[in-house]
Subunit: 466 residues, 2 copies
C-alpha cells in the first residue's frame, strides 16, 4: 500500500514475533479476525488493513518489551488508542503487531496547585474531566470524539475550544515515550515553559506513532471559568456568518468556542438532536469568564453578529441549554451520516488564514452543489478550520471521483492561500499525497531523516505520514 516506505516484513519474522508474544501475553493477545479488523480502521477510511495480532499491554514495561522484540525481528508495530482517528492512522498496511493501550488508562497524578496531571495513554478525555470534577480544573482540548490521550497527542488533536485554550501542542507539557528499540525516555518537564534543547515534546505531538509509543502524558489543566454562556445565531448568508467570526477574532476578546454549521448540517442536527433551529448558516458560540465578563462578551458577539445580518441571537448561561447545544455539535458527524443511510464518510479538513475563510467555504459549497454531492460543511471557524462531510455511497464510483475532485480543489485553494491540508485530523494514510503537495520532497526528506535516526528499522507505524 505504501508507495514510499522501504519496509518489508519477512513472514517468518512475524510468525516468530506472534508466537513469542503469545507465550508472554497469553489471552492478552488476539489473533481473531474480527478483533484484528476492528483494530484496523478508525472512523474515516473505508480500507481496512488488519494487523497480524493485537496485544494489550498493561504497563509501560510491557510496551517496551513488545517494542524490543519487534525491533529485533523487524516487525511493524501499530499503536492503537480509541480508534477514533479519521485518516487510517491505525491501519496496518504492512501487517505486524497492533499495540492496544486501552488498558493503560489510569490517571496517575493530579497537581492542583500546578495545574497539571499525569495520565496513561489509554485514558479518555471525558474520563479525565470526570476525574477532575470538583477540583476547579479541567482539560480543555475537545476534538469531539471521546478520544484517548495517547491518540490525541499523536494526531496533534484540537477542536472546539482551541481558539481559547490551544491545541495538544499547547497542552502537552511532558511525555514518557517507548522508543522503537524499547528504551524508555522522558521528554519535557512540568514547568510552564522551557528552553532546554530541541523541543522533542512537540516533535512527538503529531508524529502519529511513527517515532515512539507514548506511555505517559503530562497535561496542562485550566481553571474552570466562573461563568459560562452559550449562544446560537443564524445568518441569512454563509458570508455573513464567516465575516462575523473574522470580526470577533479581530476584537481580541478571548471567545472560548466559535463553531460554524451550514444549513445542511443544521438540518441534520435538528433531525438527529431535536433542536428546532432555523435551517440557515449558524454559529454556535461559548463565552468563559467572570459573570460580568461573559455578559460583556455575549453582548459584543451579538453586536458583531447583528452587524453582519445575524438573526435570533440567543444566549444563555443555563447548563441545560448549553449542554443541548454542544451535545448536538458533538453529534454533528453522526447526525450527518444519519441523513444518508448506508453511506461512507470522507471528512475534509483544511485550515486557512482568516481573510481567506469566507471565500473558501463559499467556493467549497458551490463546488459541492455543482457536483450534486451530499456534504454539509461545519468547522472550528474561529481558527479558520473547516470540514466538509462528504457522504458518498460505497458502491458509487462516480460519487467518489467527484469527492476526490472537490476535496483536491479545496486543498489546492487552502495551500494557495497560505493554509494547510489538515487543521487537526493529521496525515495517516489518507493524506500523504496532500502533505507532499504542501511541503514538497525536501521538507518530507527532513522528516524522514528524523524518522530514520529514531527508528532505523522503520517498525513504528509504517506507511503513515510519508
Amino acid at each position: 500500500m505504501s508507495t514510499t516506505s522501504s519496509f518489508s516484513t519477512a513472514p517468518e519474522a512475524v510468525e516468530q514475533a506472534v508466537s513469542r508474544l503469545q507465550q508472554r501475553f497469553g489471552d492478552r493477545l488476539s489473533l481473531s479476525r474480527a478483533v484484528r479488523e476492528q483494530h484496523a480502521r478508525g472512523e474515516g477510511l473505508a480500507t481496512s488493513l488488519a494487523p497480524d495480532a493485537v496485544v494489550w499491554p498493561e504497563d509501560k514495561h510491557e510496551v517496551c518489551e513488545i517494542l524490543k522484540l519487534c525491533h529485533e525481528l523487524k516487525v511493524p508495530v501499530i499503536p492503537f488508542g480509541a480508534g477514533s482517528s479519521l485518516e487510517g492512522h491505525v491501519s496496518a498496511p504492512h501487517g505486524g503487531i497492533c499495540v492496544d493501550v486501552s488498558r493503560m488508562d489510569r490517571i496517575l497524578e493530579v497537581h492542583l496547585e500546578d495545574g497539571d496531571c499525569v495520565v496513561q495513554p489509554g485514558a479518555r478525555r471525558e474520563d479525565i474531566n470526570a476525574h477532575l470534577k470538583g477540583t476547579g480544573l479541567f482539560f480543555p482540548v475537545d476534538p469531539g470524539a471521546n478520544a484517548s490521550i495517547g491518540g490525541m497527542v499523536s494526531t496533534g488533536a484540537s477542536g472546539t475550544t482551541t481558539m481559547r485554550y490551544g491545541s495538544m501542542q499547547h497542552n502537552v507539557m511532558a511525555l514518557e515515550v517507548a522508543l522503537a528499540d524499547g528504551r524508555l525516555v522522558r521528554l519535557g518537564t512540568r514547568s510552564r515553559k522551557s528552553s532546554a534543547g530541541f523541543d522533542l515534546v512537540h516533535l512527538m505531538v503529531g508524529a502519529e506513532g511513527t517515532l515512539g509509543i507514548v506511555t505517559e502524558v503530562t497535561l496542562r489543566l485550566h481553571p474552570l471559568p466562573v461563568e459560562v454562556a452559550a449562544a446560537a445565531c443564524a445568518f441569512p448568508t454563509l458570508a455573513g456568518a464567516v465575516q462575523a467570526v473574522t470580526e470577533m477574532q479581530m476584537s481580541g476578546v478571548p471567545f472560548a468556542r466559535i463553531e460554524f454549521l451550514d444549513e445542511h448540517q443544521v438540518r441534520a442536527c435538528n433531525a438527529y438532536s431535536k433542536l428546532g433551529l432555523a435551517e440557515l448558516p449558524t454559529l454556535f458560540l461559548e463565552f468563559h469568564g467572570s459573570e460580568s465578563g461573559v455578559k460583556e462578551q455575549a453582548e459584543l458577539a451579538q453586536e458583531i453578529a447583528a452587524g453582519n445580518g445575524g438573526v435570533e441571537f440567543k444566549w444563555s448561561t443555563r447548563p441545560e441549554d448549553r449542554s443541548q447545544l454542544w451535545q448536538a455539535r458533538h453529534m454533528a458527524y453522526f447526525a450527518a451520516l444519519a441523513m444518508r443511510p448506508g453511506c461512507v464518510s470522507v471528512v475534509a479538513d483544511v485550515c486557512v488564514p482568516m481573510s481567506a475563510l469566507a471565500e473558501q467555504v463559499q467556493l467549497a459549497r458551490e463546488q459541492i452543489d455543482a457536483e450534486g454531492l451530499v456534504a454539509p460543511i461545519l468547522g472550528h471557524v474561529g481558527d479558520g478550520n473547516f470540514h466538509v462531510l462528504f457522504m458518498p455511497m460505497p458502491d458509487a464510483p462516480a460519487e467518489h471521483e467527484a469527492v476526490d475532485h472537490v476535496y483536491a480543489a479545496m486543498v489546492d485553494r487552502a495551500l494557495a492561500a497560505g493554509g494547510t491540508c489538515t487543521g487537526e485530523h493529521g496525515i495517516g494514510m489518507g493524506k500523504k499525497s496532500k502533505l507532499l503537495k504542501q511541503y514538497g520532497p525536501e521538507v518530507i526528506g527532513l522528516m524522514r531523516g528524523i524518522k530514520q535516526s529514531w527508528d532505523p528499522h522503520g517498525i513504528l507505524n509504517p506507511g503513515k505520514i510519508f
Copy 2:
C-alpha cells in the same frame, strides 16, 4: 572547548572559505579583530571565542551561498542576530564564519485580518511594534532585550507577557530556513493550526542555530487590548508575594504580566530608574482587557495580594505610570550591574511548577546570603520562571566558585521538583552539563540524531546545546 562535538576544522579549509567569501562579499566581510570579538559574545558569558570572519548577507540567497560554500569546505557557521543571548550562543569555539543577519531586517508583509506578519530574521522586536503602530495589532513576546526575531526564534524566547500571550513556541507560525547545505525550505503555514506531519517549526524554535539559519519568520500578532492597567504591590515577605502569584494563576484570570523583584532588585531599580518604591519583595502586574474587565482584574489581584500581606497596591491606567514601571523592569539587569561596578554577570534561569516556586526562591535567597554573594532575584513568576543575577568580580575565583555552587544547587532543586534548567535563556555553551543532567544521555542522543541527519558535517553553530 566543546567536550562533545566531533568537529574539527582544517585551517586551510577556513582560509579558503574566508578568501572565497572575501572575493564574493568584499567589504561586507570583516577580519578585524575588534569586529570578530564583538561578534563572539552575547550579554552573559565572560569567554570570548571569536570567529575567523564576520559576513553580512543582505538576502536569503546570500545566506544560502555562504552555507553551500561552508558545507562543501566543512567550515563552521555561526548565526548572529543582535548578540543579546546570555549563554554564549554566538561564540565560535571552533572558529569559522559568523553570519550576521542584521542587514536582513525588513518587515515584508503585514496581514491585518489574519493577525500575522512576515519578517526577516534581523528585524528587532521593538521595530516590529513600531511598524505596527496604528494597526490595532502588536507582537507580544518580550524578553526584555530588543532582540532580533531570528535570535528569539532560535532561543525559544519568552518573557514578561508569556503567561497571557505565550512564548515564541506559540507565536511562530511559519519559517523559511536555509539548511546546512544551502537548500532553502519553508516550514509551517499561515493558518492558525495544522496537523500536517512532524512539527518542524517547533523543532527549529529553540534549536539555537544548530539545524539551519532562519531567513524568514511568520509571526502571530495579537489585537491590542482596549484598556491596559499596571500595578505594583510590595509584600513584607517573599513567601507572601509568591503565594499571591500562585493564587492569581489558579484564579484562571488571564493576567498579562506578573513579575517579581526581590528587595535587592527593587533597591537597584530605585537607584537606577528613580522609582521610590518601598524596598520590599514586590510584584509588578499588568492587566489587559475591556475597561470593566481591567478594573475587575485589578480588583481581584488587589484582593489576593491583600490576603497575602500585600501593602500599597497601586494601579493605574495612565500610560506614563505604566511605562515608568515597565521601563524600570526592562532596565533591571543594567540596574543590578550598576550596583557593583566592574562585576561580570551570571544569570541563573530556572523554571519550576508553581507549587515549588515559593520554596525554591526562598532557598536560593538563603543560599546566596549564606555565601555572602551579591545577587538580586527577579522573574516571570506567573510562569514559575525566576532568575538570580549573580554579580561576581572578574578576578575573584572564590566568588565564582560560590556562584557555581549556588547555581548548581538551584538547578538540582528545580529538576527534583519537575522543573527545567532553563526557562528562557537556552543552553548555548553555558548550560550543556545542566541539560545533560536534566535529560540524560539517551534524550541528548535523540537530539544528536536529528542534528546528524540535518547537518551531517556538523557545521551549524558547533559546540552548542550538546
